[in-house]
Symmetry: C2
Subunit: 319 residues, 2 copies
């Protein structure tokens, strides 16, 4: 039985949309999944009452506090021990749940992922990725998108390994192709970081490394896993998100640009930590919550963290 913790108080439309997402998930899933819904018990019950949910599929853990979207992450996590995020990480760290999902304060989720639960042995820095939609209907995984604003070459190398394992096991892409985000295609191009990361990626024969990828390659299907420092990745992600806003404002109806609605992907996985953690977008609606629960299920079903652990153990120290 997989037990998944969900912060019901996170996101701009919580708990209503979280509850709706839970109902949609339980409606579709007859698998052996148990949801632990964390937040204000009364509010959660009020919301869930409108759905007819199987009582054995979920339980509620009361949290009397909420970390606001604009609170200082470290300070809030420390001072609000009874918040849904703090309790969510506590349940995860003590083995009461097998995954934790929140669309709440992103900074608090990052701090919690880094400090409440452990990084997998050998992983220098956990990372977060985001999906990049391509015209052919496929998805690329860009990482890091903001957890590590300054990176060393060995971090980028590890992001490639973590992203490849995620792409293989969760996205079901066989032998995923890895690209290094760079300002030119040729080997030897780049800033000092990219130049130094290139040989590490090239020499690791467990990776299907396809070389440098330019900005123009991000939205086409040239690589499945795109690695860069978290500063560049964050700017790219938010720029791509803003394209969707522009398309909407201009009343453009287009199937492909619909896929720039990052909300539908349901959040970005934190990779390299001992348990699955998924950080949702603040504007998450029911679909996003449902999708996040599904991703957490797949990360568990495929034992992604176990596979990451094995890979890093087998390689000794991967740098």
């Amino acid at each position: 039985m997989v037990t998944i913790g969900l912060d019901m108080m996170g996101g701009d439309f919580a708990p209503a949309e979280a509850a709706k997402g839970v109902a949609a998930f339980l409606d579709e899933n007859k698998e052996a999944v148990h949801l632990v819904l964390i937040g204000d018990e009364q509010q959660i019950r009020d919301q869930l009452n409108q759905y007819h949910l199987p009582a054995d599929k979920f339980s509620i853990v009361h949290a009397s506090q909420v970390i606001g979207m604009h609170e200082h992450p470290t300070k809030a996590l420390k001072e609000k021990q009874q918040s849904s995020i703090a309790i969510g990480f506590h349940l995860l760290a003590t083995g009461k749940t097998n995954a934790f999902i929140s669309a709440g304060n992103t900074g608090a989720m990052m701090v919690g992922a880094l400090f409440s639960i452990k990084a997998i042995e050998g992983v220098l820095r956990p990372t977060i990725g985001a999906y990049m939609p391509r015209e052919d209907g496929s998805l690329g995984l860009l990482l890091d998108v903001g957890l590590n604003s300054d990176c060393k070459p060995e971090n980028l190398h590890q992001f490639a390994i973590l992203g490849s394992l995620y792409a293989e096991h969760v996205l079901k892409i066989a032998n995923p192709r890895v690209g290094l985000i760079n300002l030119g295609e040729e080997e030897g191009k780049g800033n000092l970081l990219a130049q130094a990361a290139y040989p590490l990626l090239k020499e690791n024969h467990d990776l299907n490394f396809k070389g440098n990828m330019e900005g123009r390659d991000i939205l086409i299907n040239k690589a499945d896993v795109l690695v860069c420092d978290g500063f560049t990745g964050n700017v790219v992600l938010k720029l791509a998100e803003s394209i969707y806003d522009i398309v909407k404002r201009r009343n453009i109806e287009d199937e492909h640009f619909e896929r720039f609605n990052f909300e539908t992907y349901g959040g970005v996985p934190v990779l390299g930590v001992a348990q699955p953690v998924i950080i949702g977008h603040g504007i998450s609606h029911a679909l996003a919550f449902k999708n996040m629960i599904n991703i957490a299920c797949r990360m568990n079903a495929t034992d992604l963290t176990g596979k990451i652990r094995e890979r890093f153990a087998a390689a000794g120290s991967i740098v």
Copy 2:
């Protein structure tokens, strides 16, 4: 009399489109501008023959060699002394022309701009900018977009000064607003570079600094001048360029996304060097060539390099 050098052999459609652009420019401009057209004389004459151009408005300087789009920049510039780019920089460096424009090998143009002509005293690193179209019809200037892949905080500070002077004098934006590309809005956010650049920008009261700008702010009108390292800027520019390609492939007709056709802007100015240099896009058509000549005219008419020189001299050493 302003004399502008133009590489007729640069770009994918040279010399035909360059010649067409020259004709369009001369057709519209009755000002005191003289064009120096550099390249294979016979080819240039064959192209120009189809237009009825005033003979006193241009002259041709023969160049027997061409630097190909994929040649190694430094090597090619050194070995092909009779190439249109090498001759163009020679004419500029010796005062025979007041500006130089090419849509040829970008790397060779960068190397030429950095080494054939001098940086203005006090400018640590010249930079290249690119226009970012915004929904309200305005243009932002993003810099650096690839000349400086690794930057120090003082470089970003100088890019802000150079970009502000360009925005004020060439784009005619009074008191241009400056933004620092970053992964969060709040002061203190960012990688080490952005964190260290922030106070330099904030404390320079000649700049109209508006704080950090996220990826989502690049395509909206929050700042006129957006500064970042050339690695991030290059990835952003090429990603934005690729949006236009996607829009075209999907047959979306939209006035705003038409403005993502970066070709129409006619190239990016190199700022901080002693003479105006404009680097065109390889796919430049006639419109791009005409626009580049216009930008060079405006840079001369407003004495932009003189104004940059004054600002850097007045400030002693700006870091």
